[in-house]
Amino acid sequence: MAESAQERKLPVDDKIHTWPHLVRMEFLVALFVLIGLTIWSLTIDAPLEEPANPTKTPNPSKAPWYFLGLQEMLVYFDPWHAGVVLPTLIIVGLVVIPFIDTNPKGNGYYCFKDRKWEILTFIFGFHILWVVTIIIGTFFRGPGWNLFWPWQFWDTHKVVALTNVDLPYLLGIRSYWVAAAFGLFAIGAYFIGWMGFFYWFVLKVKGKDFLERWGMVRFNITGVILAVMMSLPAKMFLRLAFNVKYILVTPWINI
């Protein structure tokens, strides 16, 4: 009956009182974080770069670190796409998470198995794509946005041959309109192909019931956003391996 929880040894006794035990732990952690920050701030100074000179652009001209991911994307996509479309879709993607994520598990506790795909997707999108591009942009990019090893001297006079070609050109297409048509076709094919693959994939991993419950709306939103997200590593691969510049070339947009 009223056996106190303290006397009974329950299978998982992992709770502690907020006050004072949780708070004191939090306080200690805060203390050591403060110590770490203090040591950091005492030893490493914020960099003071050259005096501002509007007539002399620094080389390289880097965005603040939190935007370096976007700046790195500029290598692979044109500014409209990398600077407006993709960032907007990132935010839209974050906004719709509560809508498309119907997994009830994982409230208030850490787990992985219960939310494997959700967590993996997020890790891929944030840690891999976003963070890694920031790391590349900070440490691996030098003057002229050329690639340098982090320990390499930043030679402002380094010249790297630029031999990029558009994908239609690479495939032998020389007519302007045919290339545009091909580009549209390629992009269309990519999206359709991806959606097909995604359908098959959800079916395989989650099952038909889940798909029915999830609904077409959610399926399509998730699919499209994931397609856009995967287009970045896809384009990076095309660029680094085959020197592909653009898939679609039009006077209004290049992708």
Partner: protein, 898 residues
């Protein structure tokens, strides 16, 4: 699901040790942060503290030394004893007693005084009231008699009281005076002592300056940032004026204090402090430090940071001679700083005279004329074979020539020669036809040659030209000749015909030439031509040279080459007179960062602006690569000249200093700068000493300096501008004993005006024009002066030419014609000259007659005598030469007045 319980073990754990550890670390970190912030990151505090200690110790040592001297001084000891005695007496001796009694007495009398005074005051008050009542009654038209009575009574009372008050007041004042007198009994002694201890006690003030007292304790002064804020010193990239802040004096505390010359930096006094940091020059409080020295003036968190020796600060500290580069940021006229900024002055001279502006545009130097001879009629002047050889490598023929070596291949040199030859043929042939070979030319006649040589040595050719190896007049750097050395002129020219006509009338061949005419007679010109044709032997003929030069293919190729190499930058070539410069603009070359300089394939050059520029000037094509050609030719400059040029180039910066900090603004400075350029171009200093420099031809007159051209220091002040203008246009003989001639340069009106303005500017002449009014000369003055000038007294005409009359004795002993004074000399200058000629021209033959004028002329007053002489000189220039002065009447010996 089972209910999850509380983790007892976890809750029982005590994290006290972790907490203590963390708190301890954080406390230590706080301490570290405090020290870091206040000490480690503020090294200037340490510097200041060290300086205050240094200053204190020095002051203390000086104080002790002075004190020792004082203690050894008998007078001081005596006075101190006297003062001590007096003060002792004042304290409790005789004097003290007297003083105290007087003070007591004064106190008593004061009380009495106050009482009496109060009574008077009361009566006065009552009187005021009574008068009011009276006035009121008048206004009310009542009877005033009763009031008048009251007033009268009060008046009487007041009179009585006043009479009582007076003696008390007197007594009181008397006592006060006495007290004062007693107290200041030692005043004289004290003043004496203060005078004696002045030297010693001033060190106390210095010590007080660097400490502060807190009760009985003395602490070193608290360090404080010393900064100078200069409003509108810089202009930012949007051309808005912005302030600049210099904090250099935070560590360099003694920079503007004498006495620290021997200390190590940062406590050292600035070199030549009294001159360079004077208020009229660069007081640090008005100009700051970084204006000249660059560096990061606002940084104080470290030596390297403050000196700007950090990555990304574009203006590191300028050390040593490099600081001279900064002068041009504010000063227009840098030649006058030949003492303080010798590298810069020399660099500017070299820049203007070696011909850099022929290829490179620099703002401020756009109007430097082309430095090389015109090539428009060159085929009438030089041997064709010689010309090709010269173009190929000028230094082989004349090592010190200003023309650089373009390192052309023989084919290219021929092509260039062909083009230039073809462009000049027409005009040259015309000139040759109208200037035939002179009659009476005795080629090879040794007597004639000797005569020519003598002429060359005496009439002034050596003021510009050298005629043997290593001979030159005005130096240009260490490796160049300003004017061609003629030691092998015969190997260059086409023949004696050209030389003859050239030396007779240079501008007849080249209208813009610097070479003047020495007004040679035909005979003289023939002899000199003969002499010159004996120097160097005739040039070797080159087979088929005329055909090669006339070959159309060569000419066409030559034109392309001439356009490529930019010959027209220095030479006038027909058809290319207005071509623009082919080199890079250097207006802001000094602001180039290292990233903007190309080092080519060279690995031996350090990556600094200084090294790049040095090696560029030393081996101009050294930075060429397999794909990039360099056009700049080799000037063969001496290392010192390169360093001087580099100093000037370092001053070609982007920076614009605020208007109010600029020096040398105004028309006068501009005229001096402009005129000086012209003066250097025509090499006036080859013969004349100007601005205390030059007169290089005088080295040939060391035996008798009187035979050398006169120095022109202070010329603007000395001569009348209109006379000077005429003289420069057409020189006349001023000094008949001179064999060396002032040449006729043929200056344009503009140039003549510029030269006159130059000298006037140097002497700061306010009014260049004078009107001599004969009626203003008092007759008394003229009479007195005639006597003074006579043989009885100063005997001026013993040495001075007098119109047409020459003095006795050999020519070397003569002095200028005084009849010219009216037209030529500035009347105010004559006064100065007569007062002390040796001050104006040290070593002049004219002796000082004053002080030492005779007592019996014009009352012995020397100023009046000088004025009289001046008036006399101004009057004797009228019309024809005056007759010899009549026998003067010596006045009777005046009584020894004064």
């Amino acid at each position: 699901m089972a209910e999850r319980g509380v983790d007892q073990k976890e809750e029982k754990k005590s994290y006290g040790s972790v907490f203590v550890l963390g708190a301890g670390i954080l406390a230590a970190l706080s301490l570290w942060a405090f020290l870091d912030d206040n000490i480690t990151r503020r090294p200037w505090k340490g510097f200041q503290a060290k300086f205050y200690r240094l200053d204190y110790n020095k002051a203390q040592a000086a104080y002790d030394e002075e004190d020792k001297k004082l203690q050894a001084d008998d007078k001081y000891k005596e006075l101190s004893q006297k003062l001590a005695a007096f003060q002792a007496s004042l304290a409790d001796g005789e004097v003290g007693k007297k003083l105290n009694s007087q003070i007591a007495e004064e106190a008593r009398v004061t009380v009495k005084f106050q009482e009496a005074d109060q009574k008077v005051k009361d009566v006065k008050s009552e009187l005021e009231e009574a008068w009011y009542e009276h006035d009121h009654a008048v206004q009310q038209k009542r009877k005033i008699e009763p009031y008048l009575e009251v007033i009268a009574a009060l008046d009487k009372k007041k009179a009585v009281l006043d009479k009582e008050l007076e003696p008390i007041r007197e007594k009181r004042n008397q006592l006060k005076d006495e007290i004062k007198k007693i107290q200041s009994g030692a005043k004289e002694i004290e003043t004496e002592l203060v005078k004696m201890t002045g030297e010693r006690d001033k060190w106390i003030r210095v010590m007080e300056n660097v400490t502060f007292k807190l009760g009985p304790f003395t602490f070193p002064k608290i360090p404080k940032i010393q900064q100078v804020s200069l409003d509108e010193f810089d202009r930012n990239r949007f051309d808005q004026p912005v302030a600049r802040v210099d904090r250099c004096q935070t560590c360099h505390l003694a920079i503007n204090r004498p006495g620290f010359e021997k200390e190590a930096n940062p406590y050292k006094t600035h070199p030549r402090r009294e001159v360079l940091l004077a208020d009229s020059a660069h007081s640090p409080d008005k100009i700051g430090c970084t204006g000249c020295h660059e560096g990061q003036g606002m940084a104080v968190n470290g030596v390297k940071q403050a000196h700007g020796d950090v990555h990304l600060w574009e203006f590191p500290l300028l050390r040593g001679a490099k600081v001279q580069s900064s002068c041009t940021s504010c000063h227009q006229d840098v030649q006058k700083f030949a003492e303080d900024a010798p590298l810069l002055a020399e660099g500017q001279r070299l820049f203007e005279q070696v011909g850099c502006t022929g290829c490179h545009l620099v703002k401020g130097y756009e109007n430097i004329p082309k430095i090389a001879p015109s090539l428009k009629k060159i085929s009438a002047k030089v041997d064709p074979g010689w010309m090709v050889r010269w173009i190929e490598n000028p230094h082989k023929f004349r090592q010190r020539t200003r023309m650089p070596n373009f390192d052309l291949k023989p084919d290219d040199a021929l092509a260039v020669a062909a083009y230039i030859w073809s462009q000049s043929k027409e005009e040259a042939d015309q000139w040759t036809q109208t200037h035939p070979a002179p009659a009476g030319f005795r080629e090879g006649d040794p007597n004639d040659i000797a005569k020519g040589k003598k002429l060359v040595e005496t009439i002034g050719c050596k003021g510009c030209h050298g005629f043997a190896d290593g001979e030159f007049s005005t130096p240009l750097g260490k490796s160049k000749d300003l004017v061609p050395n003629l030691k092998d002129i015969a190997a260059k020219v086409v023949g004696p015909q050209w030389i003859y006509h050239w030396i007779k009338n240079p501008r007849g061949f080249e209208p813009e030439t610097r070479m003047p005419s020495l007004r040679l007679s035909d005979d003289e010109a023939l002899s000199i031509t003969n002499y010159l044709m004996s120097l160097g032997g005739r040039p070797d003929p080159v087979a088929g040279i005329q055909e090669k030069l006339a070959d159309a293919k060569n000419i066409k190729r030559g034109e392309v080459l001439v356009r490529k190499w930019g010959c027209f930058g220095c030479h006038d070539i027909k058809g290319m007179e207005k071509e623009s410069r082919i080199g890079a603009e250097l207006t802001t070359f000094g602001s180039k960062t290292v990233e903007e300089l190309g080092f080519g394939n060279r690995t031996d050059v350090k990556h600094t602006w200084d090294d790049w520029t040095y090696f560029k000037l030393k081996t101009p094509r050294g930075y060429a690569t397999e794909r990039i050609e360099q056009l700049m030719p080799q000037f063969n400059l001496h290392d010192d000249d390169i360093k001087a040029l580099r100093t000037l180039l370092g001053g070609f910066r982007e920076r614009k200093v605020g208007q109010r900090y600029l020096a040398d603004q105004g028309l006068r400075v501009q005229q001096v700068v402009e005129g000086r350029r012209l003066m250097q171009q025509y090499n006036c200093v080859g013969c004349h000493e100007i601005e205390k420099q030059g007169g290089f031809v005088r080295k040939y007159y060391q035996e008798n300096v009187a035979l050398a051209p006169p120095p022109l220091n202070g010329q603007g002040e000395k001569v009348q501008s209109s006379w000077f203008y005429s003289f420069l246009k057409s020189p006349t003989t001023l000094r008949p004993w001179l064999e060396i001639r002032m040449p006729t340069f043929g200056f344009s009106d503009e140039h003549t005006t510029q030269l006159v303005n130059y000298f006037n500017g140097l002497s700061k002449v306010e009014q260049p024009y004078h009107y001599i009014d004969d009626r203003k000369f008092p007759a008394e003055n003229l009479e007195a002066a005639k006597i003074l000038a006579s043989a009885e007294y100063f005997n001026c005409f013993s040495c001075h030419v007098q119109g047409g009359k020459n003095p006795e004795g050999p020519k070397e002993g003569w002095a200028p014609d005084l009849a010219m004074a009216r037209q030529r000399l500035n009347p105010n200058w004559i006064i100065k000259w007569l007062k002390d000629p040796q001050k104006i021209q040290p070593g002049a033959k004219m002796p000082s007659f004053y002080p030492g004028g005779p007592d019996n002329i014009l009352g012995g007053k020397e100023d009046r005598q000088i004025e009289a002489l001046r008036d006399y000189l101004m009057s004797i220039g009228r019309g024809a030469a005056p007759a010899a002065a009549a026998a003067p009447q010596v006045p009777a010996k005046a009584k020894p007045a004064k």
